[in-house]
Subunit: 326 residues, 2 copies
């Protein structure tokens, strides 16, 4: 028996960093997927393989021993797979399997790869172990996995990987609201290697906040207003407004100190080539930018590919999906 589950990644459109200080944020699921394929085994061995890298970890369910091949960046993601399997096994029978993991988006780039892997793993294992979890239970369990692996996690990523679509996270994260969008939102994502990780960048902004509270306070207030107006712009499909808000938001992220020379080059190259708006997405410090391209998307894609890695990433309104081949 083969079971394949695929879950989409996400991009943050508005609210990165300010969301840490209780401001609203907007993120959308994009058509870049994590795929998990489970092949049945008759023994109690679990083998984890990442496409192209071979078998990287093995877990024996009998004596609970784990063996890992190396500590490469890509293998950090295996923690999510193992934790997801552990939590779902608590709900059902234990049974060995061969797992093949294929990730379309760059890992650690703020594009929700860990949530996509986690949700896909749970969805596939849910069929394999016949634990019969509903979508909301999958989302909840996936969030729990992220919490246990990372120590802290917003439920946005796992919710988007589960359901797809666009989410608005309200002030002080007191509500997650599905935004009633129905258009494609054509994006190009440009991606550069990370110079700092998310935790370091959040700490850097926090230091600025402590040193210059009234300066940074107003930057976050401005970001809050941007997200609120962007919410309307997205629902109304007001392309010009959406693009302008992205450009303003980019400058504010630059002011917070999370921009880099290459991100800046990509943001401006995208605008010059025809993107209506462009900005850093995610924590910055290297990582990714998004360019909103209702026209000239191919030109912007080629331009950004000349600078660094880039790909198209339209919004998806479908979340995780599972296929079983007997």
């Amino acid at each position: 028996m083969h079971i394949k589950a695929s879950a989409p990644g996400k991009v943050i459109l508005f609210g990165e960093h300010s969301v840490v200080y209780g401001k609203p944020a907007i993120a959308v699921a994009v058509k870049k997927y994590a795929h998990i394929t489970i092949k049945e085994r008759v023994d109690l061995q679990i083998n984890l393989e990442i496409m192209g890298l071979g078998v990287l970890a093995s877990l024996n369910l009998e004596d609970e021993t784990i063996s890992c091949k190396n500590n490469r960046m890509e293998t950090g993601i295996l923690k999510y797979v193992l934790k997801a399997l552990k939590l779902i096994q608590d709900k059902g029978p234990t049974k060995g399997m061969d797992i093949l993991l294929e990730i379309e988006m760059p890992v650690g780039a703020g594009l929700g790869s860990s949530a996509a892997v986690t949700v896909a793993t749970i969805a596939a294992a849910n069929k394999y172990y016949e634990t019969d979890l509903k979508l909301d239970e999958i989302a909840k369990l996936a969030h729990q996995v992220e919490l246990e692996v990372q120590g802290a996690a917003s439920p946005i990523d796992t919710t988007l990987s589960t359901y797809g679509g666009a989410l608005y996270l309200g002030r002080n994260t007191n509500r997650i609201e599905k935004l009633p969008l129905n258009w494609e939102l054509p994006l190009v994502i440009g991606h550069t290697p990370r110079e700092s990780n998310t935790a370091e960048l959040i700490k850097k902004v926090h230091s600025k906040m402590e040193e210059y509270p009234s300066i940074i306070y107003h930057i976050f207030k401005s970001m809050e207003q941007i997200t609120e107006e962007a919410r309307d712009a997205l629902i109304e499909k007001n392309e010009k407004k959406l693009a302008e808000l992205m450009n303003i938001n980019h400058g504010l992220l630059d002011a917070l100190g999370v921009n880099t020379p290459v991100l800046s080059e990509m943001v401006y190259a995208a605008r010059e080539t025809g993107a209506l708006g462009s900005k850093i997405t995610g924590a910055g410090g290297g990582g990714s930018i998004i360019a909103y391209c209702p026209v000239k998307i191919e030109e912007v894609l080629r331009k950004l590919q000349k600078i660094e890695n880039a790909f198209k990433a339209h919004i998806t309104y479908e979340g995780v999906c599972t296929n079983i081949k007997e």
Copy 2:
């Protein structure tokens, strides 16, 4: 008889654009000068020459005819010379002269070239016509010249060209205060050709203000706080704080939409090469950036010169000075 007067230009350190909305600003005089040399004539002819461009305008004081040779960018500055001579002649005798104008800083780059030319012209003519104006009268007359030529003008530029030093322009421009600095403030200025003029850029920001009032309101509030804290940092010679405030301010100017790809490249190249802080200075849209370089100033200079025009520009605590050779 030869009379030579030299007046310094200026850079805005903090408060560009937000000053238009009543927020405070800080500017300093820099060691880049406009030089005016007056040579006595016995007739009533005034000839205006810009160094390297030959005689560009002639004015006959008898019949008040003016002939101009061309309308190149550099010659726009001649309006200030002619207006300054007109206003000072109202106060004293009329007498012909040959005027040679030499400008060290790029014209129309937000570096106070028109104020420096105006102040130098008035100071030289003041000696030539023996009108005996004191410094405060020179500054006042120079501001009047800028007002009449431009329609609107802050008194900051003409005050700095007259007195040198550092000025703080208070909220709602209700006071100009000389800042008690006594250190060199080593800067590199990078300069690119202007894509838009100041009036267009102010209009662009005004449109954003009208379209997104609450977003832009908070950006200006943040800029206001930056200028207030920068005032202390300058007086205390807190280099780290000064540099960080410059970097934050640059991001906010980017958010206002006055940054360009080349300015952004220069700002980041300066920081990467060793500048402690860097930002757009003046209206943006092309124009100039400043890089604050207590160390590695030569490296930053060479790096920026590879991208566009760049030069060192330390603060000067001396204003306009005049020399007479019989």
